[in-house]
């Protein structure tokens, strides 16, 4: 499956071909074929057990595949895992930190492990503590940190060696809204700096907002991959148009639009603004933006007054649930 769209570097920084990993009878990742380009924010969407974490482990050479191949930076993770890991940063789903170390010691420790040059270590640690607003707590033991602070420190640890690919496994799980906003801003800044981000999430809003492309996974299988428009184009039933008519015209409008192709379904929807103005909102399903002139024409021919016509793209949520049902 060629899923690249030409907006990023032509060099695929991550490539997998029928990558498979089974644990006994359970196939955690099943024939996964994806291609990710440098500079992309790639969403890996799926609920628990979809195979997201196993894929991260496979791509970092931490576990070996049962079948198929992967290439990261052009290297095979099975044989060159340590060389790949030197250039990637992984924020795990439950990033545990040693409670006995201070924040500064934690970052210094990982800076040494990742071979950050000695003369740069101090500056890098100070910069990351400042970036994640932990400077004032730098010399405090991690054991006394809140969950949000720990998550920020874990993110700082992930970035200590300025990795080229950053794997974020549910980075906002369990965080409060302010911390979530900070993580999102950090991802956007990393993207601006040209970093490739592999974002595992089950948060649809997060994926829709941050990702250039999204892979939808279920039970280890890749259901679809593409940007939100490409994904939604696969979903005819997800397209819809909202129209506003006089409240008194609602039954007539319903009858008219149900007879107007390609409308497959119509239903009244609550809309306070329309109610206040004596109007009513109707949602027409199976209708995309290009069908709007036909809707208007049908209404004009019938003498039905329209106050508002708004095509709506299916959200990632629509796509996600539709794909899961396939």
């Amino acid at each position: 499956m060629d899923d690249s769209d030409g907006r990023f570097s032509s060099f695929p920084i991550i490539e997998t071909e029928r990558l498979t990993r089974a644990f006994g009878q359970t196939v955690a990742v099943n024939a996964l074929s994806i291609s990710i380009h440098a500079g992309e924010v790639f969403g890996f969407l799926g609920h628990n057990g979809a195979g997201k974490t196993t894929t991260v482990r496979l791509l970092n050479g931490v576990i070996a595949p049962t079948a198929g191949v992967a290439r990261v930076f052009g290297l095979d993770p099975t044989t060159h895992g340590h060389r790949i890991r030197a250039r990637t940063g992984v924020l795990t789903e439950t990033p545990a930190l040693d409670p006995r170390l201070t924040a500064r010691d934690t970052l210094r420790y990982f800076a040494e492990i990742y071979g950050v040059p000695k003369q740069e270590r101090r500056r890098r640690v100070d910069d990351l503590l400042a970036f994640f607003e932990l400077s004032s707590r730098g010399d405090h033991k991690v054991g006394g940190f809140s969950k949000g602070m720990r998550q920020r420190l874990a993110l700082a640890r992930t970035l200590i060696h300025d990795p080229e690919i950053i794997f974020l496994d549910e980075p906002t799980s369990g965080l409060d809204p302010v911390a979530i906003r900070d993580v999102h801003r950090m991802i956007e800044r990393l993207k601006q700096r040209g970093r490739t981000i592999f974002l595992c999430t089950h948060n649809l809003i997060e994926a829709e907002r941050l990702c250039d492309r999204i892979a939808v996974m279920a039970q280890g299988r890749l259901l679809a991959v593409g940007d939100i428009h490409q994904l939604s184009s696969r979903l005819d039933r997800g397209h819809r148009v909202s129209v506003e008519v006089d409240a008194a015209d609602l039954p007539r409008a319903m009858q008219l639009f149900l007879q107007t192709p390609p409308v497959v379904h119509a239903e009244a929807a609550a809309n306070r603004l329309a109610d206040r103005n004596g109007g009513a909102q109707l949602v027409l399903y199976g209708v995309s933006r290009r069908d709007v002139p036909r809707i208007i024409e049908a209404a004009m021919q019938d003498g039905l007054q329209l106050y508002r016509v708004q095509p709506e793209e299916p959200s990632l949520e629509d796509v996600y649930f539709a794909l899961q049902e396939l």
């Binding site: 931490v62 545990a96 170390l101 040494e112 492990i113 990742y114």
Partner: protein
């Protein structure tokens, strides 16, 4: 080998282990009790017995086969004085090995099972170290405290042992070749053995306490050596200690190889 990463991991393991009460307490207390408390206590009793010219019950061991040259070297001393010197130099010697065994086992338990328990091992698994480098770093981090505690215990024992033998028999007896072999040849092997057993235990259990308890069982054979010697089954000599060291290095090497074969990133993650 990525020495910078290896050294960073080993140094961190030692540092945080010393900050942990469950680890630091045995590291401090066991040498004090064994290397200071026991010789002082037995020395005080023997000193009183020597002055009163009473032979304590355990001096009965003197009727057993003595190490070569013992009688000639300490001619002129009474039974209580001879008994104390025999205790300090020979009878208690195997117990010294508890120090490196225990110290490396407790730090290894914290380093392997403890990290697993705290789930902090996962970040290391994603580090750019190979399996071999990660294992070597962890082992170095446990072996260094084991070997150091052994050497510190040896120094303490030489000081306290000489002080007490002077008090009891006006003799300086330590260090002799047997104790130098124990401290620099057998002790480091005991540290490897202790941590090797604990690494294997850590791969099968999930908590620091479980790993430490299993690892500590390795001291039981030492008690048998003490009992065997007290019962006259054999007498420790320089040659026997050197041979014992060789056997211990062999056993430690085997245990170490087994531990290394159980240490895989994949299996570590499966247990996290």
């Amino acid at each position: 080998m990525n020495w910078e990463a290896i050294w960073a991991i080993a140094r961190k393991d030692v540092t945080v282990a010393l900050r942990t009460r469950a680890v630091a307490l045995p590291l401090a207390l066991v040498p004090l009790v064994l290397m200071v408390g026991v010789p002082v206590l037995v020395g005080l009793i023997s000193g009183m017995a020597a002055r009163l010219e009473i032979a304590p019950a355990d001096v009965d061991v003197l009727s057993r086969p003595m190490p070569p040259g013992f009688d000639a070297r300490y001619a002129g001393l009474n039974d209580a004085q001879l008994g104390y010197i025999y205790f300090i130099v020979y009878l208690f010697a195997p117990m010294y090995l508890i120090l490196p065994l225990m110290a490396s086992a407790v730090v290894a338990a914290d380093s392997f099972a403890g990290e697993k328990e705290r789930r902090t091992l996962e970040a290391l698994v994603y580090s750019p170290t190979t399996d071999r480098e990660l294992l070597f770093a962890k082992i170095l981090g446990a072996w260094i405290p084991g070997a150091l505690v052994g050497l510190i215990g040896f120094a303490l024992y030489v000081l306290v042992g000489n002080f007490m033998t002077w008090y009891v028999a006006q003799r300086i007896v330590l260090p002799n070749l047997l104790w130098i072999l124990l401290a620099f040849w057998v002790g480091p092997a005991a540290a490897v053995l202790g941590l090797g057993v604990t690494v294997i235990a850590s791969s099968r259990v999930n908590t620091f306490q479980e790993a430490y308890q299993i690892g500590s069982l390795i001291v039981l054979p030492l008690v048998l050596v003490v009992v065997g010697q007290a019962m006259g089954a054999f007498a420790l000599s320089d040659g026997l200690v050197a041979l014992f060291g060789l056997v211990l290095w062999g056993v430690a090497g085997g245990v170490f190889a087994l531990a290394a074969s159980t240490f895989r990133r994949t299996s570590l993650l499966a247990r996290l």
